[in-house]
Symmetry: C2
Subunit: 164 residues, 2 copies
């Protein structure tokens, strides 16, 4: 059903404009918030976002995790994590020890001070995020969660199909 240039049905063949606009909006939102979090972390705690993210992963567990686990969860490269961990061990936030059963493996943990420092930052961080989304109703949030879950599933399927 191709009409004329006024009705907008001429955007064939294959109009994928809406998906593209969705992606750009998603990206804009994330970049905006990420920048905000980055600024505040630097301002209030003089810490970088990647360091905060890494510590956040480690805070979820009590007994440490390997570099590979970290890189999977953070969705960054292995070499990236090596460097980040190195600097965080250096600054006393992290603790590393080699597995006794597999000498390739390193278990990384937050040190006592590392965890304490992170918890302080995390409490503030949670408030910032709450403020960032404070124009959204509980229903908006539920709905966004649901749709983003669906989008995530779709994206994973798409990525998997390419690699396969």
């Amino acid at each position: 059903m191709i009409l004329d240039s006024e009705t907008k049905a001429v955007e064939l063949p294959d109009d994928h404009g809406t998906e593209l606009r969705l992606w750009l909006r998603l990206l804009t939102c994330t970049t905006l918030i990420e920048g905000e979090v980055r600024s505040r972390l630097r301002e209030k705690f003089d810490v970088t976002l990647p360091r905060f993210d890494l510590m956040a992963q480690l805070d979820k567990v009590s007994d440490g995790m390997t570099l590979s686990d970290l890189s999977k969860r953070m969705m960054v490269s292995n070499g990236n994590v090596t460097g980040l961990v190195e600097r965080l061990v250096e600054s006393g936030h992290l603790d590393r020890r080699t597995s006794e059963t597999d000498r390739r493996v390193q278990f990384i943990r937050l040190t006592k001070t590392g965890r304490a420092e992170f918890r302080k930052m995390a409490a503030e961080h949670e408030k910032w995020i709450a403020d960032v989304f404070s124009d959204l109703s509980p229903k908006d949030i539920r709905e966004l969660m649901r749709l983003l879950a669906k989008a995530k599933g779709s994206a994973q399927r798409s990525a998997k199909a390419r690699t396969a």
Copy 2:
């Protein structure tokens, strides 16, 4: 109304857990898709995502734009754009000329080959994005667009309030 640890209403004071989970989900989605786009751009066109993004901004206009415009639209720092533009001029994709009325200002444009090359990549890119979101119904997409617009507005308000 504080109950007990089973009912989950004990998460006071100030439960901001849902907002935090929303942010993490948003970030995961974006990171996932961004990584996918990055891989495909490198694979098929041997180009980096930042270069593609910069060219995408320039493709929207016919007569070029300044470095400041670029950095605002891309939401990255000024110094970042300086380097990116430098490399893209070097590779023949961009063209720069100094304003005649204000000698601080540089107008940046896509070259003929730069634009042609970008258009080819953009056409593919649009298809990838369509595939990424192909599990979502038109209604899902509309709803996501609406909610992300609201989230963006909220985030902007929050950021503005901090800077002010």
